[in-house]
């Protein structure tokens, strides 16, 4: 008995020591976040997941660290599905990164109203004033990260929307790639012929997450003249006739008489959103500059057959487009704001490499006449698209609004709810969000 007791005593002691060690280790691990015991500044940097961008970020970080031995950059990618939640929670409670990379709607819809970001530090950027900075960029392109006349970020990418068609598929279906669809009806008509030639996934929207749903609907809204809320963000307008018209275009193309593909067979991979187009399963898609580059890298054979054409329009006589951008910004909670802006200044100074390596177009003046700019395939299509675009209107609590939009499209496309009804439900949801 006694012997046994001693043996278990030992066992308990070992267990006790184990626990103590664990607790200590845990405490130590939690204590050393961003510490500067060795005089080094550690900057944390979070982005979404887009493989080509990640690669260039890693390269630039390595270069920056070599040039600034006292700075260490911890780079982390967040899965796109979790991105909004994770980033917002972390930034809200001060555990977020020093340097963030966010799209303009999220910035203006969540971060700026909640005062989560620090305004631009002109000294750190080495720019004398707002006007001097604005002079470097195309007019209006910094507005995506501005509130109350204050600037909060520099653009890492700036996108307009175009259309890509698979010329091989067009040839198979007896269609002329040089006479691409000009309207959404044209897209449906082409889809019928493509389907007859065996290309059943002719055109599909992407059903990835709330942000994607909203940006695609917004593209159509710009064409129909619809909006999600009124300009003062007081009332939902998503059930008004021009907005319903946008949803109708979407639903018609997805499941209606103008059906262009089976939305249930569409790929839903958020890191490679265009994998259907890239693998040659899909014949046409709404695309962005970065997407074309991703396809070129992953599927060069298909890429060679893709042709970039203007976005189909509701009214081809008066074409409209949509802008969206991603911006580098600095968290208000950052203890190293100055170093963070200096790092951003370096990232932003490499706009030629962003163009040549990842086809991220940063709207610095003269990008399209620069050496790397001229290498962008379909430059004329992009240039025209940029001239026709504008940023989205964004209301506060935009995450709730995006959820409502996603619900509306899902209702209509997958559950076959009538359009007025689906739009009505979404409008109610949005009104509740705006009113609270």
């Amino acid at each position: 008995m006694a012997l046994r007791g001693i043996r278990s005593l030992r066992r308990i002691r070992t267990a006790g020591a184990g626990i103590l060690a664990t607790v200590l280790a845990a405490a130590t691990l939690s204590a050393c976040g961003g510490g500067s015991a060795d005089g080094k500044v550690t900057l944390t940097f979070w982005t979404h997941t887009h493989p080509p961008m990640i690669k260039l970020n890693q390269t630039l970080i390595a270069e920056y660290e070599r040039q600034h031995p006292n700075v260490r950059i911890e780079y982390q990618q967040i899965p796109n599905d979790e991105f909004d939640t994770k980033m917002l929670t972390a930034t809200s409670n001060g555990t977020g990164p020093d340097v963030l990379n966010l799209d303009d709607t999220t910035l203006r819809g969540e971060y700026l109203p909640k005062r989560l970001l620090a305004p631009i530090d002109f000294d750190a950027l080495g720019v004398p004033s707002t006007d001097a900075l604005k002079a470097r960029y195309l007019p209006g392109t910094l507005d995506g990260a501005s509130a109350d006349n204050e600037l909060y970020g520099l653009p890492s990418e700036f996108n307009a929307t175009a259309f890509a068609i698979n010329t091989q598929h067009f040839a198979d279906a007896g269609l002329d790639p040089d006479a691409p669809p000009k309207t959404w009806q044209d897209v449906s008509a082409a889809a019928k012929k493509l389907a007859a030639a065996g290309h059943t996934q002719a055109f599909s929207f992407l059903y990835l997450h709330a942000g994607w749903y909203t940006q695609q609907l917004q593209t159509l809204l710009n064409e129909t003249g619809g909006t999600i809320t009124d300009a003062g963000h007081q009332k939902a307008t998503v059930s008004a006739p021009p907005a319903q018209a946008a949803l109708k275009i979407w639903t018609d193309l997805a499941t209606g008489t103008g059906r262009t593909a089976d939305p249930n067979k569409a790929s839903r991979e958020a890191t490679a959103p265009f994998s259907d187009l890239a693998t040659g399963r899909q014949s046409m898609a709404m695309v962005y500059p970065w997407a074309m580059e991703q396809i070129r890298q992953s599927n060069p054979d298909t890429f060679a057959k893709l042709k970039l054409v203007p976005l189909p329009q509701v009214n081809p006589a008066k074409p409209v487009n949509r802008w969206y951008g991603y911006y580098w910004g600095v968290s208000r909670a950052s203890e190293h704001a100055q170093q963070a802006w200096q790092f951003i200044a370096y990232l932003a100074s490499q706009s030629q490499r962003w163009l040549s390596d990842v086809k991220f177009i940063q709207p610095v003046k003269g990008w399209d006449t620069s050496a790397a700019g001229k290498q962008v395939p379909g430059l004329d299509v992009w240039s025209t698209a940029y001239r026709q675009g504008k940023f989205d209107e964004v209301a506060p609590h935009f995450a709730e609004i995006k959820d409502a939009v996603m619900g509306m499209v899902n209702d209509s496309v997958f559950d076959h709810v009538a359009i007025p009804e689906a739009a009505g439900t979404a409008a109610e949801r949005i009104d509740r969000s705006l009113g609270s």
């Binding site: 278990s8 405490a27 979790e82 994770k86 409670n93 555990t95 839903r268 958020a270 994998s275």
Partner: protein, 281 residues
Amino acid sequence: MSGPRSGAARVGRLTTLIVAGLGGLVFASVLVYAVLTALKPASEVLAVPLRWLPTTFEWSNLTLPFTETPFARYFLNSTVVGISVTLLNVVTCTAAGFSFAKFRYRGRDAAFMIVLATLMIPVEIIYVPLYSLVYSLGWVNSFAGLIVPAGTSAFGIFLMRQAIGNVPDELLEAARLDGAGDLRTLVSIVVPVVRGPMAALALFIFMLNWDSHLWPLLIASDDEHRTLPVGLAAMQADNLGSAAVPMMLVAALLAALPTVLLFVTLQRRFVEGVTMSAGIR
């Protein structure tokens, strides 16, 4: 059930057993499907019509989660957190159980009532303020945040109090006459007697922790701290296409392996843990 039985009853019994057997096959088929699909070439995973067997077994699929994602790190994190939480629970619950079962002091019953009250509260109810609290402790993105709040359990205390209550007082009295202190008595007399319930508790807590998703999702947002459920979900979110099916299935099956193995080898203890958690025994 033993004893004489009529032929009809025997046939009836056989039929029900066969039906249950078929049901078991249906249940098992999901896992068999998962294992076989995990070993298929990516092009065959969702083939129509269904083919159970791969044309060739792609054993190299087994390494995909390790080469393509930080799966190994998630696995390590889950193991570290799981073992720490389990040890903490066993120690705190055994100590508190001993205290509640064999000592008399002011406030004891009140303290025990507090424990009983929390039996009712799933973490889902309190995680909003719990998150704020852990955040203000600076424990977001730390192992402390994953481990410490889960360091004890009402059920564990309840269980150990019950088990230690059954230890005869005479045994403790004898130890005291031998000059053993209270801690010594706990360690050398009580613990050996209640090793069974302690093991059941440990297994139960470990498996519960292995499954824990919501709390780590809030607390661990970087790869260094993500546990398996959070990591798997993140991998899934980034790998929705059919090409990634083998990798995801391999990851899911590997993630299930430790608890499944524990379960198969310690089935009796696990059953004890579950039934004790429900208060059936």
